[in-house]
Subunit: 142 residues, 2 copies
DNA sequence: TTACATCCTCTAGCTACTGTAGATTCAAGC
DNA sequence: GCTTGAATCTACAGTAGCTAGAGGATGTAA
């Protein structure tokens, strides 16, 4: 029987976050003491660990909802779980590619700036003039 | 004299986003027609381009506010602009490192999953058991 | 003049939390 | 049994950076 505070500590989660997960139906409503405080069992500890670990891997709460659902049905095919993970992997790879391009341009900006007045600042100049830019006119997304 | 719609098209911004930038004071209040519609000049086009380009490089709106301020004062030292860019570069590099770790673990999950019942699904198993995980108990951030 | 695209303001919604206020409960020490 | 202080409770507001929609006004071309 864990209080919400010790559950939080064990999983590296904030207390409010646990309550939030309950509110959106990701965590079940736990038992309560007579005074109305939440008390958790090991099953809930496992579930929360699953959620947190998935979040650390960047899965969205919606994806996690699906994964938990799959996890609750051991007889189902695991293709779906696999697909979700692959989708996530693709996303991570896309973001990495994007960040790589950003890094290149930022490095260029910083290295070329020799210090002095902002009038001659290479950083500001690059930001002003989009034409010398490698980055495209598309979504920003992290 | 540009309408908000053509300014939006020229800069790859949504109309609402431009109005949002105005609302938070990132864009100035433009002139209006008698009927109350916004009309923009080239200065505003330049400013919005600067903002969008900076956003594409991942700068926060707060950072952009500082950069714009520096850009408006050509006699100031450009150290500050340089510092902002360096900070941004560091952030990008941190995120990349983080994503690299994620990619490794996701790849492992996906490659080890041989298909079958979710009961034996490697993906779900890894998510359940945090102990075999490389990722740390820290912030998720992107 | 009439049609229709574009514009206006205002409000609410998105993700995934985080923080605060003010009241209540729990557990330990005396 | 009583007190104290930490932890908990609910409810609501706020974060970043937009995005979407309602319901109405304006601008422009035929």
């Amino acid at each position: 029987m864990l209080t919400i505070g010790s559950l939080a500590k064990k999983t590296g989660t904030k207390v409010q976050t646990i309550r939030y997960y309950e509110q959106i139906g990701l965590m079940p409503e736990p038992g309560r003491t007579e005074g109305g405080q939440r008390r958790y069992e090991n099953a809930e500890l496992d579930r929360l660990s699953f959620i947190r670990h998935s979040r650390q891997l960047g899965f969205s709460l919606d994806a996690i909802r699906e994964l938990l659902d799959l996890s609750d049905h051991p007889e189902k095919s695991c293709d779906e779980a696999d697909a979700i993970a692959r989708r996530q992997l693709r996303q991570v790879e896309q973001r990495m590619a994007r960040l790589k391009a950003l890094r290149t341009e930022l490095k260029r900006m910083v290295h070329e700036c020799s210090g002095g007045r902002t009038a001659d600042c290479r950083v500001l100049e690059v930001l002003r003039d989009h034409s010398e830019c490698l980055t495209e006119h598309d979504d920003i997304g992290a």
